[in-house]
Structures are given as C-alpha cells and as structure tokens.
C-alpha cells in the first residue's frame, strides 16, 4: 500500500488547556529530530488539534520506527490522501467509494471480515453529511466485496474517511510510545550503571518529557574500558529517545578503596551507594536538574531493601529521587529493557563498580545510626576524595538521531 501521510495521535497533551501549543510544538520538534535521519521528504502540519505528517519517497518501516521513538505520540495512522482536482473539487461519493474500495484491497487481502465505515465531514460544502457519506460508501464496499459484513458495534476493520481540505482514508493505528514530548518537563539526573534497571528507569522518566543527565561511577583498573563503553552504549539507547544525554564519568576508585579500608566490609556497598548519591546530588544541582533517577526496586538486592533505601535516601539534600521501578518485578523490567533494545547491551558480562569487592553477605537491614557512625571513620580524607572525583569528572555529550 502506498501511503501519503501519517496522522499522529496524542492523548494527554491534548488536554493541557492553554499550554497545549507548547506541548504540540515540542512534539513537532521531536518528530523533526527523528525524521532528520530518515529517507524521504516530510512536512508536518498542525491542523485543528491534529498533527499530520505528509511524506514522499519514504521507507515505511524506517519512518514508523523513528516515530515510535517520539514520546507523546500514542498512535500513528498511515493514511492515503486524495487531493482536490484542478477546479478545487473533491471526488463525488462514487469516486470516493472507489478509493475506499481500493484502500481496503491494498491493506486487507483477506476480505472475510466485518467492517465499519466512519466518516467525518469537516468540509461542510461537501453534498453529503457524515452519516450519509458513511452509509453510501459502506453500501458500495459491500457491492464490491460481498464476503465482507457490516458490524457497527465491534468491527474487525474500522475505516476512517475524513473529508477536509483533502480526503484522508486510514484504518490501522500503530501504537506509539505514549508519554510526553521531551523538553516539556525539565531535566533529571540518572545514576546509570551497566545493569538492566537503570537504563529502563532513565527511559521511563524521559518518557514523561524529561531530559536526561547521567552519571556513571567508573573504577579502573577494577573495571575495564569495555565496562565504560557499555555504559556509553546504554546512554545511546536513551539518547535515541531523548536526542541527547550528557554523561558524567566519575572516577570512583579511590573513594571505594578508602571506604573498603576504613569501614566494615558488609557495609561497603551501602556506604558506597551513599557516596554515589551524594556525588550525583551535587552534579544534579550544578546542572540544573530537578531530581535524581535510580533503577532501584524494593527488595531486589541487599542494597535495595526498604532499610537500605532509607539509608541511601537520607544523604540526598533536597532533590526528589525518582525511582520509577520501585514496585516492578525483575521480569517486568526485563520486558521494557528488551522493548527499548537495551537488554543485549545490559547483559554483557563486564564488572561494574558495584560488584567488585562485594561482600558475600552484605547487610540487608542497615541501621542508620550505625552507618552514620562508621562513615565518620572516613572524615579524614573523604571530602578531598569527593572533590577530586568531581574535579576530574569526564563529560561526554552523547547525541543520537
């Protein structure tokens, strides 16, 4: 089937009152961004609460895949468009019916289906009204394909015919990612490890329109260059949706070793995570972020029990910490990871700084006052080490279209 346009459906941003144009503009900008690298000529129109994407010489699969990376889109309807003739006239009802019959044949080779024609006559100069046009087209379709049956309540095929400046015929709705367009929410700072959870958490917050700043804690020589490359690749996965991610790579080795030397081994992970949160908190504030994002999920590992979450949470000053996966089961997280194409990268077997030196039996119910008092053993050097880590922050601008 040769389509001429896509009708872009969006749900939530349609209800934002006077701010609606801001959301629509952001959505159009994001569409323009992903389409830049697609083959074909595209033009986007906003007409009475709808977004139309006219397309010429395009690759259908590539274009749809690109649009499916634009947050805010709930549905993508590939449409056939019928233009006015030289006298500014649209085809009469017989002509229109023929077009619909052709459309059905192109999209549905198997005619043994129930159908409904839904018509919307916006151009009031058209001689038939919406109901009349739908009835007439339906009758002609039945004549052409006697094996088809009408079902107006629960049709297998719903054909929409819109009579506007031109006529749009469409039926299929390809689901979009939903959410809100990037650039409508602000920015948040993601603690990105090499695992499965954190990229998914970043994706979910980005889906609510947030831009992403990411922090990775590197521990050379205990972690390899490949582990770092893996995190860069995961940042790219998120950037495919957001356009860009700024990635901070913090050298955490000295801090980790110092904790390892001074504090009880079974508290290493929890104290390490407290310092990661502290550092991320500072980076977030410096970069005008309005929150931290982590991939934590209650009880998944020792450092994510409710006690541990309290312990890591208390060091954050006044940023909210967004934990979109907090109530997710692992398999649900894996499903999203697979959907966004992060999984293959996430499971590459390189160690990250959380797994080296991990105790066989880390504490699962850390007591805050105990952790705090053990942390005092770090007083001598820790501020200096944190400062050095922040000063040597390596920043990568990850951009993907």
């Amino acid at each position: 089937m040769q389509y001429h346009a896509f009708i872009i459906k969006y749900a939530e941003i349609g209800i934002k009152g006077k701010n609606r144009y801001l959301f629509e503009e952001a959505l159009v900008r994001q569409m323009e961004r992903v389409l830049e690298n697609c083959e074909g000529e595209f033009s986007i129109f906003r007409v009475s609460g709808r977004i139309y994407l006219n397309a010429k010489g395009f690759d259908f699969d590539e274009t749809v895949a690109a649009l499916q990376r634009v947050f805010g889109i709930t549905g993508i309807c590939p449409a056939v468009c019928i233009e006015r003739d030289g006298n500014g006239k649209l085809p009469d009802i017989n002509g229109l019916s023929q077009e619909v019959i052709k459309f059905i044949d192109g999209v549905y080779p198997d005619k043994n289906k129930t159908f409904k024609i839904k018509c919307r006559r916006v151009d009031k100069t058209y001689p038939l009204d919406s109901m009349e046009a739908a009835a007439e087209i339906g009758a002609q379709v039945l004549d052409a394909y006697p094996e088809m049956k009408v079902d107006v309540r629960n049709p297998q095929i719903l054909i929409s015919v819109e009579i506007r400046e031109k006529v749009n015929i469409y039926s299929e709705i390809i689901p979009g990612p939903g959410g809100m367009p990037i650039g409508t929410s602000g920015k948040a700072c993601l603690l990105l490890s090499g695992g499965i959870d954190s990229p998914v958490a970043g994706y979910m917050i980005a889906k609510r329109g947030a831009e992403i700043e990411a922090v990775y804690f590197n521990a050379p020589p205990y972690t390899s260059e490949r582990a770092k490359q893996k995190v860069i690749d995961l940042a790219k996965v998120i950037a495919k949706y957001t356009g860009k991610v700024r990635l901070h790579i913090i050298n955490f080795t000295d801090i980790q070793m110092y904790i390892y030397k001074q504090c009880p081994h079974d508290e290493l992970t929890i104290i390490m995570r407290r310092y990661m949160m502290r550092i991320a908190d500072i980076i977030a504030a410096q970069n005008k972020c309005m929150g931290l994002i982590t991939g934590e999920s209650i009880g998944q590992v020792a450092s994510q029990t409710m006690e541990s979450l309290m312990a890591t949470n208390e060091v954050v000053t006044d940023m909210p910490v967004y934990r979109p996966l907090i109530a997710f089961d692992k398999q649900d997280i894996v499903d999203i990871s697979l959907k966004i194409d992060a999984y293959e990268t996430s499971i590459l077997p390189y160690e990250d700084c959380c797994t080296i030196f991990v105790a066989k039996h880390p504490v699962t119910k850390p007591r805050l006052e105990v952790i705090r008092s053990h942390e005092h053993r770090l007083d001598e050097k820790i501020d200096e080490l944190v400062k050095t880590a922040l000063d040597t922050d390596e920043i990568l601008e990850i951009e993907v279209n």
Partner: protein, 402 residues
Amino acid sequence: MEIYLDNSATTKVYDDVADICIKAMTEDYGNASSMHHKGVEAEQYLKEATEKIAKTLKAKPKEILFTSGGTESDNIAIIGGAYAHHREGKHLITTSIEHPAILNSMKHLEEQGFEVTYLKVSEEGVIDLEELKNSIREDTILVSIMAVNNEIGSLMPLKEAGTIIHGINPRILFHVDAVQGYGKLSIIPKQLGIDLMSVSGHKVHGPKGIGFLYIRDCVRILPISYGGGQQGGMRSGTLNIPGIAGLGRASEEIYEDFDEKTNRLYSLKSRLIKGLLSNLSDVRINGIDTSKRSISSLSDEELGDIISKTAPHIISVSVKGVRAEVLLHALEDKKIYVSAGSACSSNHPSISATLKAINLPKEFWDSTVRISMSEFTTEQEIDDTVKAFADIVPMLRQFSRR
C-alpha cells in the same frame, strides 16, 4: 612507550607485509581467476606466496590450502577429514586443552554420530603417549593434537605421537593445530608424520583474515563450503590475494635468522620468570616442570633446560590473591598489554579448561595472566614489565576480595 605482550592474541604486521598487501590491493588488484593480464598478475602473488610458505615446511606448493585463518583451517581439517573417512570408522581423538575451533568442531561431529576421545594432560600440559596409544581403536580415523597450547605454552610431543599413530594404522589422519607453533618452532610435517596442519596469518606478523591448511599430498578430505571451485574445489571463494601475499612474506620473514630469534626468546622467557619469582611471593609459573624443586632455586642452566621443553614465547603466570582482570587493567594503565588466562567476573564465571586440566589449584583459576612475546620484545620491556608487576601486585593484594 607501549609494551605489547599479547602476541598470542595477535601480532603487529611486518612493515614489508603491509607494503605488499597495499600493493596487492591498490595496484595489482586483479582476481586471480580472471583470464586477462590483471588476473595473471594476481596469480603471480599466489604462486610466490605458496612457494615461500611451502619452503618453510619443506612441503610441496600444492599441499597448501589458503583459508580465512586458524579457525577455518581447523574446521576443514576436522570436519572435512571426518566426513571423507566416515566409512572407515567414526572415532576421533583429541586433547582436552585444544582451542575452541577444535573442541567445537569435535562437538559438531559428536552431534552427527561420531565419537571423540579427549586425552588428559599432565600438570605441564602435555599428553601421555601411553594414553594416546591405548585410545587408538580400529575405527579411529583422525587424531588432532595442538603443537603449542595457547594458554600455557606447553609443547606436545608431535613426533612421538605421529610415530605411534601411524605405527598402529597409517590410514589415521594426524592433524596438528599449529596456530601457536608455526613461526616459533621448526615444524616439518613430513618428518613428524603430520597429515594436516592449521596455521593462522596474524599470529606470525601477517594480516588477519588469512591462514592456511597444510594437506599432505594424497590425503583426502572433503570441502565444507561450496562455490566457484577455486583451490581445486576444496575451498571456493575468490582468493584473498592481498592476505595471501602478506602471509607469504610473513612466513619467509619469521623464519629468517630463526635459531637466533628462538634463543633470544628463550633467554627473555627465563629473564622474565626469574624476575617475577625474585620480586614477588606466591607467584606460579604454569606449564613448567617443577616436580623436583622450586623454580627459584634452579641454576640458570637448569632453568634453561626446563623451559626449552616449552614454547619460547608464552609465559603463564598466576598471582595469588589478585584477580587477573584487575591485574590486566592495572598493567594496561602502564601501557603494558597482557591477556587474562581466564575471563571471570562475579556473575559470569568462565573458567579456562586448560587451567583446570593442568590441575591448577582453584584459588589461581581467576588469578592467571598470559604474557606472550614476539621477536620485537626487548630485554628492557621485560625488565619494565617485571618492575610493573613488582609495583602493582603488592598494592592490589591490599584490596583483594575478602
């Protein structure tokens, strides 16, 4: 300055090799099968390279089959050899410490109904000839033994094995995976009773993506890929003339001043071993016969004698209490490149079959690095490496996993 000690992974290409490859790609780029002048020109490269390689093996040019490298050579030899002789029997023999190219080809054959015997190895990584002899059956059709083990550098007794195999049944194919041996040892297939031998270009300062399989005249094996019938139909596909030309040149160059190069490598090897043992405690050198005394108490002569029974360029070192991957990255920080004996992270253990097979104590499995030298390795580099170990290891041991 970089110190590259991972020559068993791959080697730097000789300058002459790079030159001839570029020429074969940009000037004499014809298809060796074309009828016209450009084709003839390309064919000249093929002839010349084949002759050079054959000369290093005292073999006939027609006994050389070009492939994409060691893996493909091993596959053609094992699978093509087994399929050609399956009517005479369905039993094959190999060792438990072969490269995956051999082991997985064997696994494929097992799925096809063949039976495979895997020979055990000693703590030095050498097969027991008596076990080999006892394993040969009436239906044995192929024996595959590596020349040099890639992880610990042990040498297999090829001549004795060849004599035993063909003494029992001259029709059994004797295949040698010489990927780590060619260019480092003098291997004359006829003198050792070898029927098939795999070699890879990039381990001998040649290009990647090229290698060959020596197939003794009159030995019959079947092709495993099909196409335009090049190389007598044994391995179809347009000939990789730049690669072939480069490999030809590399084979010539690596065997130039061969004895001198080999002696130098052995002396570097003993220098490194002595350096490591005298500077560090709790270090093991794997694949070396220490049944009598600890290595550090040996005289230079005695040590020389022992390591002459191993490959000149590979040293496997286990450092107690330090994880190989961490040691590797710490050395990398000083621009010294080695490889980890066995990649192992907390959640994905992948223990090397070789290290297990030589009975290395468990605590060393994840603490073993491989140092592999080339003719470009210098004394200074070895001394710097010893110094780096001496600096790094005590520091890393402070932070070993508790």
